[in-house]
């Protein structure tokens, strides 16, 4: 009830200790996870920096971890036929030059290891190009169908249906490519190596399709209804509207989706690891085996001595992948944000 009229009101701040603590905890957790995000940048770069530094700390770390290395996963080591560990540990460490990294050969496990990244980089590009050439048209055309031509009831099912492809773990796609696709393709094209860049790229296109499809579909659906109706009202047919009105308006979004697809293709590990044959050779033919950057990390990191040159070079490859996908995201984001907005405002 209302307090007596004369009593002045003192609305002094109250202490709510539980809430105070709770809010600090939430802020703390948030800061913690944001710090982790920063740590990812730092730690991947830090380990890669070992190549260019003659870091005595790294030596000690390496000794310590090499002892431990032999104590776990014996089975794995012997079955996988890894080069003897001791041999590599004794080898004198020298910091690599940029020239070494640009050499055309990748032989990390030998008495005279070669760390040329060119075959790996080229392999990633080659496989990504194949994946995009196969996947992007299908994904974009499929998006055009679901957003423009599909009857209403079908839309509800087709979109999640296609997006189911994104739900396959990549190891499952890799397995399917390794066992089924590789055989079928070899029978069709009659090439020499069963596992090669083409099989890998084709399998990878299955992983890329949902990425491109979803974002393209979103940006096609985002084209204002008024624009479409205006075109139809002027007597344009449906496909003319699609090609001359909707597609141009949605182009930046579609472009961004392809960029993100490229990012996915370059960074995917398991599919290429299982389907490309993994030999680091530098050729143009799509039917040769390749060893991509991501696959190299995946295949070799488990057998490497912590802290040695090979280890650092693998991290350097990680840095390259990191920087690459970072730039792609950046471009995609800037592109979509600026262009899409401008277009819809009619500028």
């Amino acid at each position: 009830m209302a307090t007596p009229a004369t009593q002045p009101w003192s609305g002094k701040k109250k202490n709510r200790p539980m809430e105070f603590i709770g809010e600090r905890v939430v802020a703390g957790v948030a800061m913690f996870s944001l710090v982790f995000i920063a740590l990812i940048f730092i730690f991947v770069f830090r380990e890669a920096a070992g190549i260019f530094l003659d870091d005595p700390g790294a030596k000690i770390r390496q000794k310590a971890s090499s002892n431990e290395y032999e104590t776990y996963g014996d089975d794995a080591v012997s079955t996988l036929g890894v080069a003897p560990v001791e041999q590599r540990v004794e080898q004198e460490e020298e910091s690599l030059t940029v020239g070494d990294l640009l050499a055309p050969a990748w032989f990390p496990v030998s008495n005279f290891p070669k760390y040329g990244l060119l075959p790996l980089i080229w392999a990633s590009i080659k496989v990504a190009i194949i994946a995009i050439l196969l996947g992007a048209p299908i994904a974009i055309l499929a998006a055009i169908y679901t957003s423009m031509f599909a009857p209403g009831w079908a839309k509800e099912w087709l979109k999640p249906g296609i997006e189911m492809l994104a739900g396959f773990p990549s190891v499952v796609i890799g397995f399917f490519a390794l066992i089924v696709m590789a055989t079928i393709f070899q029978n069709i094209f009659g090439y020499q190596y069963r596992l090669n860049a083409f099989v890998g790229g084709a399998a990878l296109s299955l992983a890329v399709i949902p990425v491109i499809f979803t974002i393209s579909d979103d940006s096609l659906t985002a084209v204002p209804k008024s624009l479409i109706e205006a075109s139809l009202a002027l007597g344009a047919s449906k496909w003319e509207t699609v090609f001359f009105v909707i597609l141009p308006a949605a182009l930046p979004g579609i472009f961004a989706s392809v960029l993100l697809g490229v990012g996915r293709a370059m960074g995917e590990t398991m599919i290429v690891l299982m389907a490309t044959g993994n030999s680091a050779i530098l050729t143009l033919s799509p039917f040769d085996s390749v060893r991509t950057m991501a696959a190299t990390i995946g295949a070799e990191m488990a057998e490497v001595v912590f802290g040695d040159t090979h280890y650092s070079v693998l991290f350097l490859i990680g840095v390259i992948l990191f920087v690459f996908s970072f730039s792609l995201c950046f471009v995609a984001e800037v592109f979509v944000r600026n262009r899409l907005m401008k277009r819809f405002r009619g500028a």
Binding site: V26, L34, F36, I40, L141, G161, G167, M266, L321, F322
Partner: protein, 300 residues
């Protein structure tokens, strides 16, 4: 027939064929795996360990390993991601540069290859945190934590799923109408009470969807655990956080590419793949149903 007429039919037909192609591809993969994997599935396959140098027996340790690592990952990643999203939505002003920066970092992170997260896990947990823990907890010179294990693999996965959780929780929190927040504050509720009694309950389906999606992505992901804790074969089940573990996805990879006689174990490979696929599809289906319910409620 004029060119125009022709295209009126051809354009929908060609684009429709592309849709059909994708659906057929999905169907082909599913049918191939189900048909070849089904005969392999038996109680024994699901509940016993590999035998005879991994050419026979079951995949029980791999099922358990995947189960454990997914649980640990979720227990860490989901709450941390959710709280982070709540903090970003409710405590950081909407156009502050901090928020823009964080959002950009989170978006970028979502696009970073998962193998790079594996590198991070190795460089940070195994090589940095691990030795630190050993110097505190382990006997002199003994290495317990400074090596790949299930804890580091799970935490790596948690970091990997963090952006997924943050983005989807943020999205669903933003769908909570502004006027019911105001109603709460106008009734003398504090910001904290408003968050926990109005905002979170009203975005709970969205939060759950994000969590389930993240978990399903994490459960099927193999690249980050290749060198942060997964093992080819372990005689014993994982029973400590500092043990390595077997994993379904890793098992498929290793059995189909690295084992001495790949063809002899084809059945096991298919069986394992089928189990993995069932797991991730169940999780995905759960996410889709949740999202559908959420959408219905938002539209209502």
């Amino acid at each position: 027939m004029t060119k125009k007429r022709f295209l009126d039919i051809a354009v929908p037909a060609v684009t429709g064929l592309c849709v059909l192609f994708v659906i057929v591809a999905i169907g082909a993969i599913m049918i191939n795996i189900i048909v070849n994997g089904w005969s392999q599935i038996s109680l024994k396959f699901l509940t016993s360990a590999p035998e005879e140098g991994m050419t026979a027996g079951g995949i029980f340790p791999a099922i358990m390993g995947t189960f454990y690592r997914t649980i640990i990952m979720s227990l860490v990643g989901v709450p941390v991601g959710t709280l982070t999203a709540i903090f970003l939505c409710e405590y950081v002003s909407a156009n502050s540069p901090l928020l823009r920066m964080v959002r950009f970092a989170v978006n970028t992170l979502a696009g970073i290859p998962s193998i790079v997260f594996g590198l991070f896990g190795l460089g940070f947990f195994v090589q940095f945190v691990g030795p630190g823990m050993d110097s505190i907890f382990s006997a002199e010179g003994q290495i317990q934590w400074a090596q790949p294990n299930i804890l580091w693999a799970s935490l790596t996965m948690a970091v990997l799923t963090l952006p997924v959780v943050i983005v989807s929780v943020e999205e669903s929190i933003r769908t909570v109408p502004h006027d019911i927040r105001e109603a709460s504050l106008a009734l003398g509720a504090t910001r904290w009470q408003t968050i926990w009694r109005v905002v979170v309950p009203n975005s709970i389906t969205g939060i759950l969807t994000g969590a389930v999606l993240a978990v399903s992505r994490g459960a099927g992901e193999v690249a980050p655990i290749l060198f942060t804790g997964a093992a080819y074969f372990l005689p014993n089940l994982t029973h400590s956080l500092s043990d390595q573990f077997m994993d379904l996805g890793y098992h498929v990879y290793i059995m189909s590419t690295q084992s001495p006689d790949v063809d002899a174990t084809r059945g096991i490979q298919y069986g394992t793949t089928l189990v993995l696929l069932c797991l991730t599809f169940t999780l995905n289906a759960a996410a889709i149903i949740l999202r559908y319910r959420m959408r219905k409620r938002v539209n209502a």
